[in-house]
């Protein structure tokens, strides 16, 4: 099994493969509950589905959870004792969409930059992504405007494409090859007609998107050269309600804050949780001075991080994959496509 190899697996054999995977680690697959989809470890082969919409909770949560404990501390006669808390078992994420995989590649790069984040990589090294390409776009998708889908994202371990009665499976990494190596009885080498069908599906998928939702390159140019009038940022910032929703649902946003909690007089723990640069307290200093106290300034700053060339240069892509979650999460209609549209005038 090598990187780049293309195989197929018949749909009726998929359950067998998943059962085998469940013996290696947690299989985190799409599960439908309460009329929406979640990525959860499955206990029963009947619980998961591969006909799912993009889950509202982004998969970054599996590696960078909403809140996680860093270490426990206690104070005794010998002084302060600190015990780091690491958690995370092997997890195989099945059915993750291309935009989310592309986002995960960026988040990996971010947490490795300058200093490596041990808590993130403790989970990441135990995680395998088996992505499922999107044969058709969903309600709010615009990944084609963001160079992030609907197929062939960066960083998949295995990519599956639904060909009708079977899945084309492409090996993208060493870990992917390893996972599949023991199950060669279920897979067969892809034939030319399979590959042709896959190419047709990829072409047809692009037509299922609505009219281009977001002209990203125009926005990138304007933001990089700081040529957006202040009036527009003020107008958008006025509508923004500082809820932080866009930051939490975005698979690429990674800001967090760190707090201590005392569980009793002599001990407690330090945890970190998601944070949003939209909040006014995000940059407020202890003296009370706040360099980004103005809502328009904070809004402008967030989009500078998302779309400016200075950041693209650092991380090799702009920070939006077109998943469309912010469109649902924003109460004020100032999500990514709306802002990009507004910047066009």
């Amino acid at each position: 099994m090598e990187i780049g190899q293309k195989l197929v697996i018949k749909k009726n054999k998929l359950d067998t493969w998943v059962e085998r995977l469940m013996k290696i680690g947690d299989v985190v697959a799409p599960v439908k509950e309460n009329d929406e989809f979640f990525f959860k470890p499955i206990q029963d082969i009947k619980n998961y589905t591969m006909n799912h919409e993009i889950p509202y909770i982004p998969p970054k949560d599996l590696i960078f959870p909403q809140s996680e404990n860093l270490f426990e501390y206690s104070r005794d006669s010998k002084g302060i004792q600190i015990k780091p808390l690491f958690a995370g078992k092997k997890q195989i994420v099945l059915g993750i969409r291309s935009c989310d995989v592309e986002a995960a590649a960026y988040v990996d790069h971010f947490f490795r930059d300058t200093f490596e984040d041990p808590y993130y990589f403790n989970r990441r090294k135990n995680t395998i992504f088996i992505s499922l390409g999107c044969n058709k776009a969903f309600e709010n998708c615009f990944c084609i405007c963001c160079d992030a889908g609907p197929f062939d994202p960066k960083g998949y371990d295995l990519q599956m494409i639904d060909l009708g009665d079977q899945y084309l499976t492409e090996i993208g990494s060493r870990e992917g090859a390893e996972v599949i190596s023991k199950d060669q009885d279920l897979f067969s080498v892809a034939k030319d007609e399979d590959l042709k069908k896959a190419e047709e599906i990829k072409k047809k998928a692009r037509d299922t998107f609505k009219e281009p939702i977001a002209y990203m390159s125009y926005a990138i140019r304007k933001i990089t050269t700081d040529r957006v009038p202040k009036e527009i940022w003020d107008e958008l910032g006025e509508r923004c309600v500082d809820c932080g929703g866009c930051t939490f649902v975005c698979p690429l946003c990674t800001c967090f804050t760190v707090e201590d909690i005392a569980t009793n007089q002599n001990g407690g723990r330090r945890f970190r949780c998601w944070d949003s640069c939209n909040y006014s307290g995000f940059t407020r200093e202890v003296s009370g001075h706040n360099p980004r106290g103005d809502k328009g300034e904070r809004f402008k700053r967030r989009f500078f991080h998302k779309l400016s060339y200075q950041y693209i240069e650092k991380y090799l892509r702009h920070q939006c994959v077109g998943c469309g979650r912010c469109i649902t999460a924003c109460p004020a209609g100032v999500d990514m496509p709306s802002v990009v549209k507004r910047l066009r005038g």
């Binding site: 009329d35 500082d242 809820c243």
Partner: protein, 642 residues
């Protein structure tokens, strides 16, 4: 990670959220994607108020006051102590010397059991809630004019389709952004007109069409002037009585600082649009005459005849509606059934097996009047000390003979108590909330509290000790009893996924004759308006804000007492660090002042938690006989350098 569906416990919108749990520890919250109330959105309080569940300010054990401080004790000792004190007071001074004060943060089940405990075991009708000082005006007046749960209360779905929205009272777009603000903005993007009546904002947001900024004592006159315009221009779609018309004619339409054309345009847009809704914060508009005027305006315009039109009174508390529905008011049983009438009293007496007490129940401010000789109070679910609006009431509470507090967190009220019981906060209890649309929704829980217990279970244990066991074992059993005794809730099924609406009836609206002198401009000797502002850190769920690290960082306590506009401060000769002297017809105060560009010229904003100063300026509160609430009228003041 587990996801547990529940309802956000912060404000009265009732947003659906998932609590996310990892190994028994709450990790965060996430909006429910397809919930009809919030549709996948949350505000910052919805995202982070769950952090309070791991806060160190949670009560760790029952406590009894021994000497100067509270000492941790076992449950039995606290229950024995509390029950014996209550029995002693009941025996020596009668049931009417006891009172029970609930809160709009309690679940329906907790509120019902509390009310039952008071009336059947403590033998008192002094049952009230901490909303007495703010939202009781709205509930009582809506009930009397439109009837409860009638077409006059708009639904959120209807707000999305509105053609005109009047937004008044409180900072709606910032305080309720995900449910109310989002829908108003959607309506706006679809062509609706937004009319903002806000004396606190100098410049309106860009998406507001018309902004009227009356000085607060003139606010009531403005609303009545708009009603006057409706009648004069023949835009009224309701036959108003002669007495009403005679009174309304006295409200003139000229207000200095507000162009008359704006008022005319706003009134016309409101009256002539197909679907017009008035949105206001019921905790903010406490003057009953203002509520009366708003209700009149809605009735006159005819926008309460169609289904679910009219008014949306939003509350900062999660179960204001439900707590009142459950009878946490002195003179009504659950479902607004009169306690004085035989036909409504009888089913309760039969089901409960006791005769209900005949003494007239007192409201909180009546119970805190030393002449009433109330000796013991049970305070459940809220920091009552933080809600009392005058130093006299605070002094009275501090001097009460016996106080038992039931709360999830250590608050200032706990420090006054003789016995404290820890209850389970939302997230660790079952039960139901009724949001301000009339949607009854079930809570979910991550597990039972390690220390606290649901309030109804503590009350049941107390009832055991008082030899009159209430015998409740679950929230479902309590809800069955609520359904049996309360016609309003009898059709509610808790198996519906997103809660179920209370049934709406068509209403026969009654208008109010507003006993108010028209004020259009400030008198010469008091040229400034005093605005008492509930800062975001002190409103509603202050306890939850202080217990969640991110919310605590976002909502800082205001340290200066007052704020004025920089141009006003310049003409007064004030510099940063100076103190100002504020004089009203009732008193005078010297306060620390800050400058704020967003404060309207000619107003001075005073932060609400500086109770002593405010009550010196506002004088004695007035009691409204119809709503039984106590309120403080807005006033004009004089400002100068101290």
């Amino acid at each position: 990670m587990d996801t547990i569906g529940t309802i956000c416990p912060f404000c009265g919108c009732g947003s659906g959220t998932y609590l996310r749990v990892n190994d028994d520890e709450v990790v965060g919250a996430y909006p429910i994607l397809k919930h009809p109330v919030n549709r996948g959105k949350l505000c910052v309080r919805g995202w982070w108020s769950n952090q309070c569940l791991k806060s160190t300010s949670r009560l760790k054990s029952p406590m009894i006051r021994k000497g100067e401080s509270l000492k941790e004790v076992e449950w039995d000792e606290a229950l024995d102590f509390c029950s014996s004190k209550l029995l002693e007071i009941r025996k020596s001074s009668g049931g009417h010397s006891l009172g029970v004060i609930g809160s709009p943060a309690l679940t329906n089940e907790d509120a019902f059991v509390l009310m039952k405990f008071a009336r059947t075991i403590l033998k008192t009708n002094t049952v009230d809630g901490s909303y007495r000082f703010s939202s009781s005006a709205t509930l009582s007046l809506l009930n009397q004019s439109l009837g409860i749960w009638t077409n006059g209360i708009a639904s959120f779905e209807n707000l999305e389709k509105a053609n005109a929205v009047i937004v008044i009272g409180g900072n709606i777009f910032q305080e309720f952004p995900d449910v109310i603000g989002a829908r108003i903005l959607e309506a706006r993007d679809n062509g609706a007109k937004i009319i903002l009546i806000d004396p606190l904002r100098d410049k309106p947001q860009r998406f507001v069409n018309i902004h009227l900024k009356p000085r607060p004592p003139a606010l009531i006159s403005l609303i009545n002037a708009m009603s006057n315009l409706l009648i004069q221009n023949g835009l009224s779609r309701f036959e108003a009585g002669k007495e009403f018309i005679k009174k309304i004619k006295s409200f003139a339409i000229e207000f200095p600082g507000i162009p008359t054309s704006s008022i005319e345009e706003a009134t016309k847009i409101y009256a002539q649009s197909n679907n017009s809704i008035i949105v206001y914060c019921s905790d903010e508009l406490t003057d009953p005459n203002l509520i009366r005027s708003l209700i009149n305006l809605a009735i006159l315009s005819g926008h309460i005849n169609g289904p679910e039109q009219g008014l949306i009174p939003i509350s900062r508390s999660p179960n204001l509606q439900g707590a009142c529905d459950m009878g946490l008011v002195p003179d009504l049983l659950s479902g607004y059934q009169d306690i004085d009438k035989e036909e409504t009293k009888a089913p309760f007496e039969k089901h409960w097996g006791v005769k209900l007490p005949l003494d007239k129940g007192l409201t909180i401010h009546e119970a805190l009047d030393p002449d009433q000789k109330v000796k013991g109070l049970l305070i459940a679910g809220d920091n009552l000390l933080g809600k009392l609006p005058s130093p006299e009431l605070i002094k009275s509470l501090k001097e009460m003979d016996f106080i038992a507090v039931f709360d999830g967190f250590l608050t200032d009220t706990c420090n006054l108590a003789h016995v404290v019981f820890p209850i389970s906060p939302p997230g660790e209890c079952d039960g139901t909330f009724t949001n301000l649309e009339g949607r009854v929704q079930s809570l979910g829980k991550i597990g039972d509290s390690k220390i606290g217990k649901p309030l109804w279970s503590i009350i049941s244990k107390l009832s055991d000790k008082m030899k009159h066991p209430l015998k409740y074992t679950s929230d479902q059993a309590i809800f069955e009893e609520i359904k049996a005794l309360t016609p309003l809730y009898s059709q509610v099924s808790l198996n519906e996924k997103a809660g179920m609406f209370l049934p709406r009836r068509k209403s026969k609206p009654k208008m109010f004759v507003v006993d108010e002198t028209p004020i259009n401009e400030p008198p010469k000797e008091f040229p400034f308006s005093l605005i008492v502002k509930n800062t975001l850190s002190s409103w509603g769920r202050n306890t939850l804000v202080k217990a969640s690290p991110i919310l605590k960082r976002e909502y800082l306590e205001e340290r200066t007492e007052a704020k004025v506009n920089p141009s006003d401060s310049k003409s007064l000769g004030l510099r940063p660090g100076d103190k100002i002297k504020i004089t009203s017809k009732d008193g005078e105060v010297i306060a620390s002042v800050g400058l704020d560009n967003s404060v309207v010229e000619g107003t001075v904003v005073f932060h609400s938690h500086f109770v002593d100063s405010i009550s010196s300026l506002l004088g004695k509160g007035k009691v409204d006989p119809q709503t039984k609430g106590i309120y403080y009228k807005d006033t004009f003041v004089r400002v100068g350098k101290a």
